[in-house]
């Protein structure tokens, strides 16, 4: 709104502007309708969490009954705990990796080597979770996998990683890093190239060493990118679904079942939709709160709101 008033020094009436932009508006409409149906209608669908939608022909409002059921379900709490543990592990172990890798690549002198490594580490990001999962199944196979071959070579017993409650979460985090690392690194490298070389020259003259340059120039210059990446990460980390759905099996439900997979089994497979929407709402809302809080903090302390 503000923007419109500022730019409207010689503003034409709305009708004239619509007429003048009719083709432009026509181009927006299909996309706009798509967003309404497939992105915003589902948001309204969250309201079904307060109904018994699913089994009966007639849907009726049941208040907080679904939520009461959730709070007493041990499977829900298990999934909730797993979601938090896996997400936290993803943030702690994954989030710094692309940044560190980008900084390491940036230290290489050879332009060709830089390009080649970027090319290579970015490949896994284009593989589906099914392919990535399959690669890990193959890698960790107790009968024919290289990892267990190594373990046996060193005199150990083969480990069935994919069915082990002890190791499964690590497999999830490692495969997540394996697939996503290059994507983050490439974005950070793009941000690194926009830093003015004069800044480094000035710092060198002021006697700053490598570490000094890293702390005083590189990282501050990349702050907007880092914060944006963190926000996007926070928005999706709790919604972890496809990776788990592909890789888990009933042997590891205890440690691997997350909210979205629980929601999938209850809602899509069993048809208890109102209840499963209520279960899914938890993570959606926590994610939104996390993102908005981070954005607020970023606006307050770093003076740059990202959204």
């Amino acid at each position: 709104m503000r923007q419109k008033e500022l730019s409207g020094a010689i503003r034409q009436p709305l009708g004239v502007r619509i007429k003048r932009q009719k083709f432009l508006l026509l181009m927006v409409i299909p996309g706009f309708v798509w967003y309404c149906i497939f992105k915003y209608l589902p948001m309204l669908g969250l309201g079904l969490a307060f109904t018994d939608y699913g089994f009966k022909a007639k849907v009726s409002f049941i208040g907080f009954d679904n939520f009461k059921r959730l709070l007493t379900s041990s499977i829900f709490w298990n999934a909730f705990r797993n979601t938090l543990v896996i997400s936290l592990a993803n943030i702690v172990f994954y989030f710094p990796v692309p940044l560190i890798v980008a900084l390491l690549i940036n230290e290489l002198q050879s332009f060709k080597a830089k390009k080649a490594i970027q090319f290579l580490i970015y490949i896994p990001y284009f593989f589906s979770w099914v392919v990535v999962g399959s690669i890990f199944v193959n890698l960790l196979s107790p009968t024919s996998g290289p990892i267990n071959y190594l373990i046996q070579l060193l005199g150990g017993e083969p480990i069935y990683f994919m069915a082990s409650t002890k190791y499964f979460r690590s497999v999830i985090v490692v495969s997540y890093i394996w697939r996503q690392m290059g994507y983050g690194a490439v974005i950070y490298i793009a941000a690194l190239t926009t830093i003015e070389p004069q800044l480094y020259e000035a710092a060198t003259i002021d006697g700053a060493g490598r570490w000094g340059q890293l702390w005083n120039i590189t990282l501050p210059s990349m702050r907007p990118t880092i914060v944006t990446m963190l926000l996007l990460n926070l928005a999706h980390v709790l919604m972890i679904f496809e990776q788990i759905l592909v890789m888990y099996n009933s042997a590891v439900y205890d440690v691997a079942d997350v909210l979205q997979t629980y929601v999938y089994r209850e809602g899509v497979l069993s048809g208890d939709m109102g209840y499963s929407i209520a279960a899914g709402m938890f993570t959606s809302i926590i994610s939104l709160v996390l993102v908005l809080t981070t954005n607020k903090l970023s606006a307050k302390f770093l003076e740059e709101p990202i959204l």
Partner: protein, 287 residues
């Protein structure tokens, strides 16, 4: 003088360590993929033990030959069908929208941009989405794995950012020549944006090709399954779970199916990777 020598010595040590770390990272990516590739070309007798890891010592096309004449090809065709049709739809929706959003004077531009970026940070999860698709009566139709996932906010924003950089004067002069916005898009803007549209086309193609959970969520008929679903069944479930083949599937055949599952991505990848870097400057999300 001494400090300089000292620092350059530290620097040398750092450079060596850096190279070793990066080499290890590269190996961690190459080795798993390499293992899949060589196993897919191996003979049955060589893959029975667990020592067929890095050095290929047999070469045969029999595994690929086997899949070419199997049920996997049907899944491959389904994947291709979805990816091609879906990509066309995605482009028809995203390019005009991206162009319109790139025009600073578009009515409601601020609102639309907010509407798009909000979807990047708020995800309602799978159930409400499932309910919408179900109430549109799309369950078990191929359309269900195309239309509901037809747009990606990132791709629209990439297009918008690129088109914003086209000089205003070009567009103004076309307008003076009597071109309307439709004509400007088709005759001026699209020809100037071929590279970014090509990149976005490939992104969309890969995203359709790789889809998994939408397929198992919306499709019940196994004849309509895409390759990813079949591959998942082959790798993660009992060996005879698929179409009652009933026999043990050797890992070399599995790996050949896996290569089939990543083939288009591997072919397309060299063409997209350079655009992605230039396309997705994240600052462009902010607006």
């Amino acid at each position: 003088m001494t400090t300089k020598i000292k620092e350059s010595r530290g620097r040398k040590v750092f450079n060596v360590c850096n190279k070793i770390i990066l080499a290890l990272i590269c190996l961690s990516i190459i080795i798993p993929i390499w293992n899949v590739v060589i196993t897919s070309f191996a003979k049955d007798k060589d893959v029975i033990g667990n020592d067929y890891l890095l050095i290929p010592y047999s070469f045969t096309l029999q595994n690929y030959n086997k899949i070419l004449h199997s049920g996997y090809m049907n899944a491959f065709k389904n994947s291709l069908y979805v990816a091609v049709l879906g990509t066309l739809l995605s482009i028809f929706l995203s390019v005009p929208m991206g162009y319109a959003l790139s025009r600073k004077d578009l009515l409601g531009r601020g609102f639309l941009m907010k509407m798009l970026t909000f979807t990047l940070v708020f995800d309602v999860g799978i159930m409400p989405f499932y309910v919408v698709v179900r109430s549109l009566h799309l369950i078990n139709k191929m359309a269900a794995i195309i239309i509901p996932v037809a747009m990606s906010t990132f791709n629209v924003i990439i297009i918008k950012n690129y088109m914003s950089s086209i000089p205003e004067s070009l567009i103004e002069s076309a307008r003076l020549d009597g071109c309307n916005d439709m004509g400007i898009l088709v005759r001026i803007v699209i020809p100037l944006s071929v590279s970014i549209i090509a990149a976005v086309t490939l992104f969309y193609f890969v995203s359709y090709w790789n889809r998994y959970f939408e397929v198992i969520m919306f499709i019940n008929d196994s004849r309509k399954y895409t390759l990813q679903v079949v591959l998942r069944g082959l790798m993660f479930e009992a060996d005879d779970a698929l179409g009652g083949q009933g026999s043990y599937v050797y890992s070399n055949t599995k790996m050949a199916v896996m290569i089939l599952g990543m083939l288009p991505v591997l072919i397309i990848y060299p063409f997209i990777q350079k655009h992605f870097v230039s396309g997705l400057m994240i600052g462009g999300v902010k607006e």
